[in-house]
């Protein structure tokens, strides 16, 4: 999928463009400028003209001059999508020449969720490596936004090479509960900014031990194709104990969950960087301690670099993807693929992201097909039909690949509604029936609502290999 022909020596000269899409994306760009980023071009893309005007970034693209008329997408991904389609040429121009595109977007709203897939696919068209950094909304933002975000994430995962997604909720954990909401959102921006800078640094710095793009992509992909949960940690420290401190800070990152998630990761990317005074000993200390947090099975991709700009500081970046439960309602819709490849003018309105009727999980998309709309479309939309049929057939909606299926359109939607999705809830599945073993016949010991006769390691989901 990605071109592997990047030679290590010219890594430093790679042209990187960082694109901030939508309101959240622009905030991240502003944060990046604040934190300082070198050798990368920043592009802000938005439907909201006012927000664009307020951004400090120099290169801006306004989407949807006629669709939204500078007023924003109103939290509706379909509007965002339409606006992006209108501005396709401008976006293409803005991305031109980039070899690596970092797409920063906050999912759940209108512009980000709707346009992300278009921007990503445009970048792909240019043979750039697309790394997307996406945030998923807080729980308090409501189920609808969440559903929109998940859907957009799924689509993005198909069009970007690598998607690093962060849940705002997790970042909220890192902020004190009494902190203002500004801080919570600012935390999100900070994390994104850190990760963008970390990866840019990885790519840019002349490393002693170099990490190449392909390794980067492998680490961030995870093993399976069903998308992975990203684990990111960044820590910086100075002083006597900086190796230890930096690692501790990196692990403290809320997206790292104190290193617990690392145990499940298969490929982990670690980059240690420091000023010229960094010693081998320090690197060793750091890596030894780090090794205690990972399993023996995981593949460690280690990179080290010396950057005079860091001075006394030592920093460590940890990146990985853990094969995890994809949020059950992620569906990959191949429709937009056909959308972009064909001429933008012939866009039937039902192509954009499915209207989120209600936040019911998997059933949602399938239900959509029972609406009469698809049937009204003229026959030459085989991609759509096949997608529908494929979705209906496999109740596991992980890959709704446009398989070459015969036209089964009319019965398919009905079949879809009858089929029970087997993937309803993936969160907590006990692999054995809850059993009390020896205590089957005695009075249960219930403390604080928990049945203590059930083994502790089962109740706490402690991993026992």
């Amino acid at each position: 999928m990605i071109q592997l022909h990047r030679n290590q020596s010219s890594t430093r000269d790679v042209r990187i463009k960082i694109v901030g899409l939508g309101g959240a994306g622009s905030n991240v760009l502003d944060r990046l400028l604040l934190d300082g980023i070198q050798n990368a071009e920043l592009v802000a893309i938005n439907t909201d003209a006012q927000a664009l005007a307020g951004s400090v970034v120099t290169e801006k693209v306004q989407l949807g001059r006629t669709t939204t008329r500078g007023l924003g997408a109103g939290g509706d991904p379909e509007v965002g999508y339409a606006a992006a389609e209108e501005g396709i040429e401008e976006v293409r121009r803005a991305l031109e020449g980039a070899q690596m595109v970092f797409l920063c977007v906050g999912l759940g709203g209108g512009t980000g969720s709707g346009a992300a897939r278009i921007v990503a696919s445009l970048a792909r068209e240019q043979h750039a490596l697309v790394v997307a950094f996406a945030t998923l909304p807080f729980d308090f933002e409501g189920k609808r936004r969440r559903a929109q975000a998940d859907e957009a994430l799924g689509a993005l995962q198909r069009y970007a090479d690598v998607v690093i997604h962060f849940e705002n909720e997790r970042m909220g954990d890192a902020v004190a509960p009494l902190a203002g909401i500004q801080e919570a959102f600012a935390m999100a921006d900070q994390t994104l900014s850190q990760s963008v800078r970390a990866i840019t640094g990885l790519v840019r710095r002349r490393g002693l031990v170099q990490i190449g793009f392909d390794e980067l992509a492998t680490a961030l992909r995870g093993g399976g194709e069903s998308g992975a949960h990203c684990v990111f940690g960044y820590g910086e420290a100075e002083g006597d104990n900086r190796a230890h401190e930096a690692l501790a800070r990196a692990l403290k990152n809320p997206l790292m969950d104190k290193g617990r998630m690392l145990e499940d990761a298969r490929n982990i990317l670690v980059n240690v960087a420091g000023g010229p005074g960094m010693t081998l000993n320090e690197v060793q200390i750091l890596m030894e301690e780090f090794n205690r947090h990972i399993s023996d099975q995981s593949r460690l991709l280690f990179g080290a670099s010396v950057d005079p700009a860091l001075g006394q500081r030592m920093c460590v970046t940890i990146l990985s993807a853990v094969d995890g439960e994809v949020p059950a309602n992620v569906e990959l819709r191949p429709r937009p693929a056909t959308r972009v490849e064909s001429s933008p003018a012939s866009v039937p309105p039902s192509a954009p992201p499915p209207r989120v009727a209600e936040p019911a999980p998997v059933l949602r998309v399938v239900e959509r097909e029972t609406e009469p709309e698809p049937e009204e479309q003229p026959a030459p939309r085989p991609a759509v039909r096949e997608a529908v049929a494929a979705v209906a057939r496999e109740s596991a909606p992980i890959f709704a690949e446009p398989a070459v299926e015969p036209e089964v359109a009319p019965p398919a939607p009905k079949a879809a509604s009858k089929e029970k999705p087997t993937l309803a809830k993936q969160e907590q599945m006990l692999f054995e029936p809850v059993t009390r073993g020896r205590f089957e016949k005695s009075e249960p010991t219930i403390v604080d609502g928990q049945d203590l006769d059930v083994p502790t390691f089962l109740r706490r989901n402690v991993k026992v290999k």
């Binding site: 009390r436 073993g437 205590f439 016949k441 403390v447 502790t456 390691f457 026992v464 290999k465």
Partner: protein
Amino acid sequence: MGREQIVVGLEIGTSKVCAVVGETRGDGTIRILGVGQAPSRGVRKGEIVDFETAGKCIREALVDAEEKSDVMIGSVYLGVTGSHISGFNNRGAVNIPEDRDEIFDEDFEDVQASAREVSIPAPNMFVHSILQHYYVDGQDGVLNPIGMCGRKLEADFHIIHGVATRIKNSVRCVKEVGPEVLDVVFNPLAAAQVVLDQNQKSLGAIVVDMGGGTMDYIVYVDGAVKQSGALAIGGDHITNDISLGLRIPMAKAEKLKVEEGSVILGNARPGETIVLKDETGFAGKAVEREMLNTIIHCRVRESFELLKKRLDEENYLQFLGAGMMLTGGCSLLKGINHLAEEVFGLPVHVTHAQTVSGLTSAFENPQFSTAIGLIKYAEAMQPAQPVGLFKSLFKRIPFLGLW
């Protein structure tokens, strides 16, 4: 030199029933003559669930004890436990009648009765009222008010109560087998008599008896019992967890826990396995040591955390100068004192019965702490002078020092 008396302590535990025959001399020392035990069936979480089977096990244990000590057992002190037993503190007060101002013995009984006038749940009965402090006319720190003048006598008691039917069940079960039950004692109270010395009691200490079915605890602060209770989690739960987690039968799990179990994580070399031997000697299943330790660790940690929660309710943890004494079968798990230290933040010692003489193998085994403690308790209940046994048992004047 006081009268020597044979006392038998009987503990009907979840993993074993044991009867300890001891000789008490009036000076406070105890000599162990023999220990009889039998594996216990029909008891779960410290309570009898199968009457008949439990009776058989009790008989077996008593017969064993009789053989080993060469003594005929006619009466026992019975230890009871179970999550239904709990303790709380209450103050009793009594006004000295106007015609005298000296405090007499009757006043103690009145004060005790007054302390018991608190509502306990309907199905419950009192098991112990343990004296904590006296107050005479509001004056604190009175050790022995007999003969003192005062208008009002108050006393703080620690009251232990439990479901009457369950306790009576145990008593009946023993009676069916034969011997008389002289008194019913809450297990950790008995264990504390032989595990703690007076100094430790004044410094403040907690005794935790981790047995097969329950985790019993009793807290001493300034020499007085302040908190006690029992959690229905024990070694059985650990074995159950191992059995379910490693998918091996209970018997093997028990053996594994006893022989190889450890609470410490990260100690095993990665991938180190234990090979379970079959009865025929052929190597059977191999289990990872780290997995075993993880399962045990989780369970024990959770139990300790639950206990800590209970202790935090009354907040005596900070007053425990002598720390925690762990006893009972589970205290033999490797590394358990470190885990306890981590959870409670107290110095933790794994101990067994002290201040006894006689059969060394008996008292150096923490599994027998409770049963031996029953003997010590019996001894403490007897007066120094030879008085009629029954009369003295019920009219014992509780001096603080002896508790």
